[in-house]
């Protein structure tokens, strides 16, 4: 039982990384990125393709991808997504959903529908034993990265000039612009940072398991559930939401492999009915 709990928490670490970008983008500009999962898969394939070209450790390839991911996210928000923002949710939903379909089919055309993964050498099999518990080193590393990213984003959001700009445009775009902020650039910066977490999530997903071009929607749903369970606008809330989702799924898988994801969805819906504002809403103050 304790083993299931541990595995669930480690799985939650990965889900947290899926969700942080979604949480940031919704928090700053109320944008629902329906291509979140597909961008994670795109990041994973970018790493897989790079690993085929240069013989470097996957972690180094991942690091090299981060500035590219930032630039990609910045440009995407600046030149495409900013034009879809507004009271009506339809334009941003259709554009991101369209992007999701473009990414899925583009990747399938380039890489075929087969699942791929990043070879991590010994890291894939190494594990740590503490008493009766066994945990893989890689999942532990992923969990550590998730904690670090959550901490970094919460710090950025609450304690820095950039974070203040994020909160300002989030609270009232017009007033923030009167104070001299360029909301379009602030939004672009937020998406750029969100895409850094997306690239990290993609590379780690490819290292831990396999990725296929059609995986995106499922990753999106997990990310979305973690954000809603946690409560909007709080990164530690998202972290806890991801943990709850990971543990629930792991318990479900233990009971019956066919029902694991289903039980995760059900727990999400129960939280939605019982506590629609999420477990830890708006801790950013």
């Amino acid at each position: 039982m304790i083993d299931t709990l541990l595995q669930g928490l480690l799985l939650g670490g990965l889900y947290c990384l899926f969700a942080l970008g979604q949480s940031l983008m919704f928090g700053v500009m109320r944008l629902t990125n329906t291509a979140q999962g597909d961008f994670i898969v795109l990041g994973a394939f970018a790493a897989v393709a790079s690993a085929g070209l240069v013989a470097l450790h996957p972690a180094l390839i991942g690091l090299a991808l981060l500035p590219i991911a930032f630039a990609f996210g910045y440009a995407l928000q600046r030149y495409v997504l900013n034009g879809t923002l507004g009271r009506d949710p339809l334009p941003s939903l259709v554009v991101t959903f369209g992007l999701a379909i473009v990414i899925q089919n583009g990747l399938q055309q380039l890489f075929s529908a087969d699942p791929r993964s990043l070879a991590t050498g010994a890291l894939a099999t190494e594990s740590l034993n503490v008493g009766p518990l066994t945990a893989g080193v890689l999942p532990l590393v992923i969990f550590g990265v998730a904690v670090a990213c959550t901490f970094a984003l919460q710090w950025l959001f609450g304690r820095t000039r950039i974070g203040r700009a994020f909160r300002a445009v989030s609270d009232d775009r017009e007033i923030a612009e009167l104070m001299g902020l360029d909301a379009r650039k602030v939004y672009a910066l937020a998406t750029g940072i969100a895409f850094i977490t997306i690239a990290i999530a993609g590379v780690l997903q490819a290292m831990r398991t396999t990725v296929a071009p059609s995986d995106g929607p499922l990753l999106l749903l997990f990310a979305f559930e973690a954000v809603i369970i946690g409560g909007m606008g709080s990164f530690w809330g998202t972290f806890c939401g991801a943990m709850l989702l990971g543990v629930t799924q792991q318990i479900g898988f233990r009971i019956d492999p066919g029902w694991g994801i289903w039980i995760g969805h059900i727990v999400f819906l129960i939280v939605l009915v019982v506590r629609p504002q999420g477990l830890f809403p708006k801790t950013r103050g």
């Binding site: 919704f26 109320r30 944008l31 629902t32 329906t34 495409v80 034009g83 879809t84 949710p89 339809l90 334009p91 941003s92 939903l93 259709v94 554009v95 959903f97 369209g98 992007l99 999701a100 379909i101 473009v102 899925q104 089919n105 583009g106 399938q108 055309q109 929607p217 999106l220 749903l221 979305f224 559930e225 809603i228 066919g258 029902w259 994801i261 289903w262 969805h265 059900i266 999400f268 819906l269 939605l272 009915v273 629609p276």
Partner: protein, 346 residues
Amino acid sequence: MSAISPSTTMPAVSHASSATEPIVVRATLLSQVTLGVAVVLVGVAASLPFWGESSWMREFVEIACYFIFAAMWNLLAGYGGMVSIGQQAFFGIGGYAMLGLSNFGGINPFVAISIAALAAGLIAVPVSQVAFRLSGGYFAIGSWVIAEVFRLGIANVSAVGGGSGTSLTALRGIDKATRESTTYWVALACVVACVALVYLFLRSKQGLALLAIRDNEVAAESQGIAVKKMKLAVYVVAAAGAGLAGALYFVGNLRISPDAAFSVNWSAFAIFMVVVGGIGRIEGPIVGALVFWALNKFFSDYGTWYLLGLGLLAIVVTLFFRQGLAGFVQQRWGWVAFPTQRTLKG
């Protein structure tokens, strides 16, 4: 809605008794022509089984299902303001309800179609209690989660074949020609009923209330419109329509599986059709379905490139051409085939 130029309007319905009061105009010349053409077209279409090929009938049944599903998505998103990526939940429920009623209940599948539609509408009532906790973009993805719950749930029910699905055995005794033409006529009737009901609903007092809610929810509420009740009604009707499309589709297809019935592609294609045709207009899904049918006919062999193109087209239309084709025609020439607005004259 933009006003129509006076030259194309004709007084049809008048509530005014004296000459000094303004006259409320509902119909346009084009709308009356459309009605006439539509009656002729439906008449010709109804006779198709006597002179057409069976492949045409199959094609029509398929595109009819896409169209009905898209028209219901348009009602929900374009008029009700509820953008959803989860309407495939009700499409699948309709399909499986029809199958269950026919295979296990011994009901004629063609009769079961309408019961399945009602069942989908009924299930939408409790589902709305969960889905309505979210709004905007999160409603869209939350609905998708709900659809996944149904897909994964059905995939674990061995009585209907689990994940690999099952066949509609109830139609086995009927010969192919009778089955195909009956399916065709039912599909045609469903399309006509669907367009007529949406049109009449939007022209009614309730339709006016719905348009008011779409334009400004708070203002509508302040005018005494029961916003919540209205949204629930639209959600239930759209679910029943999606269920109808699903039941019809699998009567034509004879085989059902959770992945086919609850595929997110249903919502993706509906969004494509409505956005390209023009959201929030009855003409939208009609034009969109025709465009989709043509693209599908000529380009579907290209597989992934074709789907990639559909995604790109939806993005481009949303960014640069937000009114869609029907909206463009209305703005450019003032043509409205299905006018829902009231224009004052005199």
